[in-house]
């Protein structure tokens, strides 16, 4: 099996690769969005705490 035929997917490349692409985009979003949001929230809270201490 050549790399070319692997990407061609027997002529169904568009359907197969779009499916896999969308799936991984959605899964990555659901995984990293909360991580980014939590970092932001923690930064905000840290700022608030600093301001409160002054």
């Amino acid at each position: 099996m050549t790399l070319e035929s692997f990407f061609a997917m027997g002529g169904y490349a568009f359907y197969v690769w779009t499916s896999y692409g969308i799936t991984f985009a959605v899964l990555l979003w659901n995984l990293f969005a909360p991580i980014v949001l939590r970092k932001q929230l923690l930064r905000q809270l840290a700022l608030k705490q600093k301001r409160g201490q002054r």
């Binding site: 359907y15 896999y20 799936t23 939590r38």
Partner: protein, 253 residues
């Protein structure tokens, strides 16, 4: 709580306390990630490379390795949410509320994936992007159920009430899912005749089955990782001025 032995109940309460759970999640995530990759990589290789092309559908059937596990996950997560809802309502366990609401977007994501991949699979098979096939229709209704959960939670300002509302809704939804499923199936045979779609009964060979099971396992582990990340955010959001969050900030600084 009376029918649960005291040491066990103490163990649950300790594990369920936010700081303890937060630390536990931090410890678990690396292990889960390793396990996830151990299943994902051979699963993808087996599905995309090793398994032979289907004699009827050619390579387009390879969408099965994400479509079917995603559809399984969409149901599995909803049932899990209902279980969490039951625990939250009966034992007033706040961690169950947090897990319930953290699961909803992930479940909705899987449902969306199942729908989109189903449609992308259907196009070469049926010649149209959308067919009112029983599984796709059920999946669409399931997506509405998920959206109902997230929008109800977002709409109620007091988050304790919102969690209670969502728990009730998840329980009502889970009772309805089998009814919806069977009604849609019956409707499908009524209006379309008994055309067995390729999606429902893939005549599956062992070399095709193994990657499918590997992918299903990988998706479950992905869910565990994602829900822990989401729950960590939700825990801080709920009590931003709690003592444990303060000490968390100090440790970071």
């Amino acid at each position: 709580m009376s029918f649960i032995p005291a040491p066990l109940s103490r163990f649950f309460h300790r594990t369920a306390s936010p700081p303890h759970f937060y630390a536990l999640a931090d410890k678990l995530v690396p292990w889960l990630t390793v396990l996830f990759l151990l299943l994902l990589i051979p699963g993808l290789y087996g599905g995309l490379v090793a398994a032979p092309a289907d004699y009827q559908q050619g390579d387009s059937y390879r969408i099965i390795y994400i479509h079917v596990p995603a559809a399984w996950m969409s149901l599995f997560i909803y049932v899990l949410m209902a279980v969490m809802g039951g625990i939250a309502l009966v034992w007033r366990m706040k961690l169950a509320e947090v897990m319930l609401i953290s699961s909803a977007p992930i479940g909705a994501g899987f449902t969306f994936v199942a729908l989109v991949t189903g449609s992308l699979w259907g196009k070469p098979m049926w010649g149209t992007w959308w067919v009112w096939d029983a599984r796709l229709t059920s999946e669409l209704i399931l997506l509405f159920l998920y959206l109902g959960v997230t929008s109800l939670y977002g709409a109620i300002e007091d988050k304790r009430s919102a969690a209670r509302a969502v728990s009730i809704l998840a329980l009502v939804g889970v009772v309805n899912i089998p009814i919806i499923h069977y009604s849609v199936e019956w409707w499908n045979t009524l209006h379309q005749g008994p055309t067995v779609s390729k999606m429902d009964k893939p005549s599956i060979h062992i070399s095709m089955l193994i990657p499918l099971l590997l992918m299903a396992g990988a998706f479950k582990l992905y869910y565990a990782i994602a829900v822990l990340q989401s729950a960590k955010l939700e825990l801080i959001k709920r009590e931003p001025s709690a003592q444990w969050v303060k000490s968390l900030l100090e440790n970071k600084a």
